[in-house]
């Protein structure tokens, strides 16, 4: 019997006092697609980082095709034939496709051969369905789905024996996801082993042959996909049954709060017109590029290209004035919490009070005791551990970070509308439920809560009214509930 493609045995890794991975063993054969699931902090990221050469294990051994390998750097991983494609992508936007494909190859000589690079790149692009692309095109001009495919093509070109896809689909449209899946299946058929890490259980069950579930740093389940249902998967990940979401109360409708007229942002958003009422949770359903994120960013005043008008509680909002809008009662939570959301080096308390400085100050002067009390109250309200108030927010988990961002706008009467872009991106199942609860509570306090999401489950669970969008325009409005099928149809041109 030939050696398995990948064999990890007894991998252990700790970060300080935290045992991220404990004695994990994994086995994968050539052509096999393995799904790796587990909520945040379960250890799957660490496992992947070990394979990618970013983190060295404290103990354990890795074998590829029977040969032991040592992976201290990404270059070692490349030499061993391991390709790691993660959400943030290792492509340099300032360089062309061909230059990116050739970038950092361990077996390349010093001199460049641009013509050969271009020819080789064209071949590889054809293998992933991108034959029409010009290898000299700058990666910066490509959409995310195409970039994913370029990375997979690059992995192929480097003779990858093991391809790791780390949460690749979170930012892709359904169409792009299908293309990526097609490319992955083709790659697997050619003998490459694939590890597919994802939160999206539906996709895992669709694409993978087997699933491994990791919890608290250990492998707790390993089964062929045919023997597994989504519910069983969730149970394995959490270690318990997930309570169904409590039935939503009757749809209370308060007064008309936010009027938006003809909101447009170039070609990304066209003529968005809607009236939002207090007391309801509105879900803007759309994939990447549908314009949902633009609606929120434009209302917050962060897009200089936005035109149209909006009025909150009778007072006009400035489409280029985030400060004014904040003052008029608009709260905004971004989808990019590391880039434009959190102050990573500052404490949790300071992050919470960042938008509430007027509350904790008098005549421009901060009152420390008041700030402390208020920050504690906010933390408790948002469900962030109050004993971590002084820790830099950068060390918190994704869920707690997101709660901090939402927590900024709580306990204030003057926040009338709360806009949240992708409320639970990168947040595990436990944190997700908590954030949904927060948003529901915010709406119950007579606010309009408007969130944008591409996650159909989230939209079904959280929104009282669903607004579907595609290509920058509203497709459907559903104040009384909507089926998953309808949403999907609206979002994708009628393809089921």
């Amino acid at each position: 019997m030939s050696a398995p493609r990948l064999e990890m045995s007894g991998i252990t890794r700790s970060f300080g006092a935290v045992k991220a991975v404990r004695d994990v063993s994994l086995r994968l054969g050539p052509g096999e697609i393995l799904g790796l699931c587990g909520h945040n902090g379960a250890g799957k990221s660490t496992l992947i980082h070990v394979l990618a050469g970013l983190v060295a294990p404290d103990a354990g051994a890795i074998r590829l095709d029977g040969e032991p390998v040592v992976l201290h750097t990404p270059r070692d991983a490349q030499r061993a034939g391991i390709a790691w494609v993660d959400q943030e992508l290792s492509l340099v936007p300032a360089l062309s496709i061909a230059e990116n494909v050739a970038l950092g190859r361990v077996d390349a000589g010093l001199l460049r051969h641009p013509r050969r690079e271009r020819a080789d790149t064209r071949e590889l692009l054809a293998k992933v369905g991108l034959d029409a692309r010009d290898p000299d095109e700058l990666v910066g001009g490509l959409d995310l789905g195409t970039r994913q495919l370029v990375e997979i093509a690059r992995a192929l070109g480097r003779g990858a024996r093991l391809l790791i896809l780390d949460e690749p689909t979170a930012t892709l449209t359904d169409f792009e996801i299908e293309r990526v899946f097609a490319a992955v299946r083709r790659v697997a058929r050619d003998g490459c082993a694939v590890i597919f890490v994802s939160h999206r259980l539906g996709e895992v069950l669709e694409l993978c042959h087997r699933v491994t579930v990791v919890r608290d740093g250990r492998v707790v389940a390993e089964r062929p996909v045919a023997e597994l249902s989504a519910a069983q998967l969730v149970e394995a990940m959490l270690g318990e049954q997930l309570e169904p979401a409590p039935p939503r109360g009757p749809n209370a409708t308060g007064e008309r709060l936010l009027r938006v007229r003809d909101l447009s942002v170039g070609t990304r958003l066209r003529g968005f017109t809607f009236d939002f009422d207090a007391g309801r949770v509105y879900g803007l359903a759309g994939q990447v590029g549908a314009g949902t994120s633009e609606v929120l960013h434009a209302l917050a005043g962060l897009l200089p290209a936005a035109t149209g008008s909006a009025e909150l509680a009778g007072r006009p909002l400035g489409l280029r004035h985030p400060v004014r809008n904040r003052g008029r009662g608009l709260g905004f939570v971004t989808n990019d919490r590391k880039g434009e959301g959190l102050f990573l080096g500052r404490s949790v308390a300071e992050n919470l009070t960042a938008t509430q400085l007027d509350v904790v100050a008098r005549a421009g002067q901060l009152i420390p005791r008041r700030e402390r009390r208020h920050a504690t109250a906010l933390a408790v309200h948002a469900g962030v551990a109050a004993d971590r108030l002084d820790a830099p927010v950068g060390v918190l988990s994704g869920g707690n970070q997101q709660k901090t961002l939402v927590g900024r706008y709580l306990l204030r009467d003057d926040i009338k509308a709360l806009l949240v872009d992708e409320p639970t991106r990168g947040v595990d199942i436990g944190g997700r439920a908590a954030i949904h609860e927060l948003l529901r509570a915010a709406a119950d306090e007579n606010r309009a809560v408007i969130f944008a999401s591409s996650d159909l489950d989230e939209l079904l669970e959280l929104a009282t009214t669903v607004i579907t969008m595609r290509a920058g325009r509203i497709v459907g409005v559903y104040p009384d509930g909507v089926s998953r099928q309808t949403m999907l149809t609206d979002l994708t041109h009628g393809r089921a």
Binding site: P322, G339, G345
Partner: protein
């Protein structure tokens, strides 16, 4: 995370204390006064620069030129009285710096190059306005700035006062908090509804006021102002800020730290002087101090951001 970097620092500190103890005349009141007074001019200016760095604008290379122009304005306006001349110089300094801050705040213009260019413009215009000759005091008010109440120069009292005032501003006012937040992440501040342009302009204006105040003292001390007055003021101020442990990336640090940095530089320079070492070793040690603290500061922050 802390241990690897604090041990060498503690050792260095211990070595310095031993060195100081074995140096004649170091721990005398006269010497302490000398250290304080040599730190004061750079200190006042560096305290202002701290706000620019904290607000995320790295460093300003217009520090020296601004101080010199303010000195010229101050000295030539002395015929109107000490206080009016001082206020005029400070207002001019704040305004010129505010203009630079507005460009950085509005459009995120690169602050290093901007202040280089601004420095050139300031020096050029100063020479055009006041000619090439040294500007002499037009009144006697400057003597007050040179006076030495209780044996300590006025500049020292002012430096300590400014340090305390700026520290209060940073830690206990809304503006101070906003400066720290903008310095930490400009985009996050904007998304949170913080008026970025206003905050950065204010930070620069405060800095400009401090440069001008320092310049007034500088001009009084030399009883004249010309472009040669600048000397190494800009880089000495930058060194003081960095040695104090304020991060050049913004968002972390304080005026008190800068005060400490200015005093540390003055103390070590003094120590070397007493030991008979020339300018070479003094400069060398100042540089080593900057490098050591910068590395320690960045390591500490890298660790905190996981």
């Amino acid at each position: 995370m802390r241990r690897p970097t604090t041990i060498p620092l503690v050792l260095a500190l211990a070595a310095l204390i031993v060195l100081a103890a074995t140096t004649d005349r170091f721990f005398t009141w006269d010497n302490v006064k000398a250290i304080l007074s040599s730190a004061s001019l750079v200190g006042i200016v560096a305290l202002g620069l701290t706000f620019v760095t904290l607000a995320g604008s790295m460093v300003s290379l217009a520090v020296g030129p601004s101080a010199v122009l303010a000195a010229m304005v101050f000295l030539s306006a002395l015929n109107a009285g000490l206080l009016p001349a001082l206020l005029l110089a400070i207002a001019a300094g704040a305004a010129i710096a505010a203009l630079q801050g507005a460009l950085v705040g509005l459009w995120n213009v690169n602050p290093v190059i901007l202040t280089i260019g601004a420095g050139f413009l300031i020096v050029g215009f100063a020479e055009k306005a006041y000619g090439e000759a040294t500007v002499r005091p037009e009144g006697g008010g400057f003597a007050t700035l040179n006076s030495v109440p209780l044996g300590i120069p006025v500049a020292v009292y002012v430096m300590i006062g400014v340090a305390l005032a700026f520290q209060y501003l940073l830690t206990r006012t809304v503006l101070g908090r906003q400066i720290l937040l903008v310095g930490e992440s400009r985009e996050a501040a904007r998304a949170a509804g913080i008026p970025v342009a206003r905050v950065v302009t204010a930070a620069f204006a405060l800095a400009g006021a401090a440069y001008a105040l320092g310049g007034a003292f500088l001009g009084s001390f030399n009883m004249g102002a010309s472009t040669y007055l600048e000397g190494t003021l800009t880089f000495d101020a930058i060194a003081a800020v960095l040695i104090g442990g304020t991060s050049i990336a913004g968002g972390h640090g304080s005026p008190l730290r800068t005060l400490g940095g200015a005093l540390a530089v003055a103390a070590i320079t003094d120590l070397l002087l007493l030991r008979g070492l020339g300018t070479g070793p003094q400069i060398l040690l100042k540089g080593l101090l900057v490098v050591t603290v910068v590395i320690a500061t960045q390591r500490r922050l890298n660790g905190a951001q996981a």
